[in-house]
Symmetry: C2
Subunit: 214 residues, 2 copies
């Protein structure tokens, strides 16, 4: 399984996702945070994304893959997702930091279930949240309690985050069949597995929305 | 010396310098790097700035100071410096990463010479380059060798980096006499010490320019 081109694709898309999340969160922190404390907290998440990127890049190199080449096929889709979901205020930035990344993580977790245990362990290590995003949940709850109409607006926006992510994921899956196969490679037929995957993603998203009081 | 307000000022300005350098380098990496490898290399420097920020913030908290309050007086001057020295291409971004930060570091090193050894050790730890910016030097040399006229233009631009830094530093020194005193607190009179300081800064800058082949 380690030699499957799907594995290099998986580590490549995950590496680019971390590198681009690093840049976007750093920018959101600098431009949207209402205080230096909030700015530091979101910058902390950004820095964590960078250290994940480094783990993945080093692993790609160990596998004999060129990290740049492995990431390149996914840059356009991930950049498009970020461009279409650019937060316009601090509340949106927090929701994106928590929900946006989590959606991507759900995809990767699914793929990791089909991997060589050693690679699966690395992916898990990169994906583990370690409570870092808890600050985002707490801040969102407080902002929404203080101004309930903002909760309705940001909940709609969170739905757009998911919709745009699924749209980009479909394009990536069409272009990279090896990677898509990692997600749906299971007895019982592809269609049933895709339905189960989408149900899992939706359920996880709803739990996160509830955690934020949305 | 630990209780001097100048020490909190020094750690505060250094903390904000790291936090803002983190954001600017992350942005320059995402928007100006010509390849994913270059983007990763400058993002690595940005992430290092963040980890320095964290050390300084934690130290401020240990001293009983509020990190946000300690940083706040310096945000305007550092933001102004970044706004006036925004790189317009990759070569400028590299020169800024190497020279721009180094100028600031020279100031802090001077101040650190007057500090309690424990604080001086932390400042040294934060300031040590560890060869991280060597990639910038190597890339600048290669770009300038390939296109010598670009060297002349970027050398002028580097001079502007220094000029803007001195201009902001003078305003900060006027507004924060305790901090200024850390820089010039020495037998022999303030004026002689300021002259020596400026000579040291200029010499260090010239060495860095030479290292880049400029």
């Amino acid at each position: 399984m380690k030699d499957s081109p799907g594995v290099v694709d998986l580590l490549g898309v995950l590496a680019y996702a971390e590198l681009s999340a690093f840049a976007r969160m750093a920018e959101d922190a600098a431009t949207l945070a209402p205080s230096l404390g909030d700015r530091a907290a979101l910058s902390e998440l950004a820095a964590a994304e960078y250290s994940h990127f480094r783990l993945l890049r080093d692993r790609l190199a160990e596998l004999g893959a060129d990290p740049e080449q492995a990431m390149a096929p996914f840059a356009a889709a991930l950049d498009a997702w970020h461009a279409r979901t650019k937060p316009s205020d601090w509340l949106q930035a927090l929701v994106k930091a928590y929900v946006g990344d989590a959606i991507a993580l759900d995809f990767y977790r699914e793929a990791a279930r089909h991997l060589d245990p050693e690679i699966a362990k690395l992916v898990d290590e990169v994906l583990v949240d370690e409570g870092r995003s808890e600050f985002a949940v707490a801040r969102v709850r407080a902002l929404v309690e203080a101004e309930p109409p903002a909760g309705g607006r940001v909940a709609l926006w969170a739905r757009r985050l998911v919709g745009e992510a699924l749209s980009q994921a479909q394009q990536v899956a069409a272009a990279r069949p090896e990677l898509a196969r990692l997600l749906v490679e299971r007895a019982g037929g592809e269609q049933a597995d895709i339905s189960r995957l989408f149900a899992t993603l939706t359920e996880a998203h709803n739990k996160r929305m509830a955690a934020m009081g949305l």
